[in-house]
């Protein structure tokens, strides 16, 4: 039987752009270019490797996001995923992690899955909680924050490098996995992959397809509120010297003046 892999990918504002907040204190997605979160490229890569090692596997990439989020799906398809699902609905604006995980879980159940692979965190929200929430909602094991992962005979094995220890983890499928940026560099889409992606199916679902009500998601359904957002004041310009043989000593003088020595 085919191994059904669902990879969750997020479309995020480019971190090297000038990111800011919209008037309703949600992340402004209009003024900054978006892209497939780099940390989710690692998830797509591991899915591709697991699929290559399996006899028969199918990779579906899934995103919850605005119209432009299709770009993220295209990128993942051009890397080699087989098909895509885009959950899009005006009522999703302002959805928090709780709501996002609800929508993703419903979509994953509807799509059918043996293995869910997520990134370690989104590069905009950086919460790193959606994979654990998916495992809780789907009632399956979480095998998360892996720097190494493999699947064999219905068992997923991985290495999790924590602060205090490095752990080897094991769980039976179905399961939710998340991988870190230590898991191995993501491939670039080939020209052939980019061409092929254009013909791959992208399904669009809205809330009603997932039997969800508008109140369960969006700003209204959110479990948290942002009351204010302030730009951090720019750091005051410091002293910059060119090393002409005494740079290390000058620096020591500065540190002594600041009482670090």
């Amino acid at each position: 039987m085919s191994l059904r892999i669902v990879v969750t990918v997020k479309y995020v504002p480019d971190a090297t752009g000038d990111r800011h907040f919209a008037d309703d204190l949600t992340v402004d997605r209009d003024d900054v270019d978006g892209l497939l979160s780099e940390l989710d490229e690692y998830a797509v890569e591991q899915a591709l490797q697991i699929a290559e090692d399996a006899d028969d596997a199918e990779i579906t990439v899934l995103t919850v996001g605005p119209e432009d989020a299709k770009d993220a799906l295209r990128k993942a398809l051009s890397m080699g995923a087989d098909k895509a699902i885009h959950v899009e609905d005006d009522d999703l604006h302002g959805t928090d992690a709780m709501g996002t995980s609800l929508v993703l879980a419903r979509a994953i159940e509807k799509a059918g899955f043996d293995l869910v692979i997520s990134g370690m965190a989104s590069t905009d929200g950086t919460m790193g909680v959606v994979p654990a929430l998916l495992a809780e909602r789907l009632g399956v094991p979480q095998v998360t924050l892996l720097s190494e992962v493999s699947v064999e005979d219905g068992t997923v094995t991985g290495r999790r490098d924590g602060d205090a220890a490095s752990e080897t983890l094991q769980a039976s499928l179905p399961a939710v996995v998340s991988v870190t940026d230590q898991s191995g560099e993501a491939r670039y889409p080939s020209f052939k992959g980019i061409m092929a992606a254009k013909k791959k199916p992208v399904e669009s679902w809205d809330l009603s397809d997932l039997d969800l009500e508008a109140e369960e998601v969006g700003l209204e359904g959110a479990y948290t509120v942002v009351d204010s957002a302030a730009e951090r004041p720019a750091r005051t310009a410091g002293t910059i010297v060119k090393d002409e043989g005494e740079g290390g000593k000058q620096l020591a003088e500065f540190l002594a003046g600041q009482k670090f020595i």
Binding site: R137, A230, G238, T239, G247, L251
Partner: protein, 320 residues
Amino acid sequence: MAEVLVYVDHVDGAVRKPTLELLTLARRVGEPVAVALGDGAADTAATLAEYGAVKVLTHEAAEYDDYLVVPKVDALHAAVEAVSPAAVLVPSSGEGKEIAARLALRIGSGIITDAVDLEAGDEGPVATQSVFAASFSTKSRVSKGTPVITVKPNSAAVEAAPAAGAVEAFAVTFSENATGTKVTARAPRESTGRPELTEAAIVVSGGRGVNGAENFGLIEALADSLGAAVGASRAAVDAGWYPHTNQVGQTGKSVSPQLYIASGISGAIQHRAGMQTSKTIVAINKDAEAPIFDLVDYGVVGDLFDVVPQLTEEIKTRKG
């Protein structure tokens, strides 16, 4: 006064510093009740009492070590039901955030992650977060259920505030999913003898400019002259010159020391995300245009192979 649950991060009974910071923050919102799980749970009580825990709820079971995350969620869930707290605070580690999120979902509450400050508000605790690579600071609150908040290391001063710290064992029933993910092996990290990166008052970091694992000795020597922790950029980690546990930045550690010294690091946004809230920032880079210089209090444009050894020598001389 309402009780606030504080999840205790400890290794065999030795409480890690971020938990003590959580006790300081918890006292602003209510009375801290600590929850300590696993081997040595009861041994945490003396320390926790010294820093303000009125009660220490403990539970020991092999499941906490043998299976990932869910047994801890089950326990915290049981503690929430026993105590009905005003808020739950958890240290912001990878695991801490996962425990907190699953707990929040179970109890129908919202979650805020990576708070850097916490104060009492009219409508419950208000958390300060540092977002978009620390270029914005936001204030948020949980609007539904019991607020579950994870707090980053170094978010508050550790303050002694002796309290009773009465140890109380509590009952935990593990859920069906508790044994879903087995920990089949565990290799503890070896200690380097240097301060913990996220706790250190001074961090000395090296990047691609260090140009080789063998040259990291220069960075370590500077760090040792200052009693500092050693950090690295992802470029240096990816090259295999320094362990990933020392990476500073978006996918590494966030640090906020009194002094941060960057050598041979350009200052990419993802690196800044992990260090730009440091009090004093110093950089050594041979490229005067490197973006790291936008952040510095003092910068030296020069070759780190000249500047760093001279700096280390001068520090040693001055320290005598």
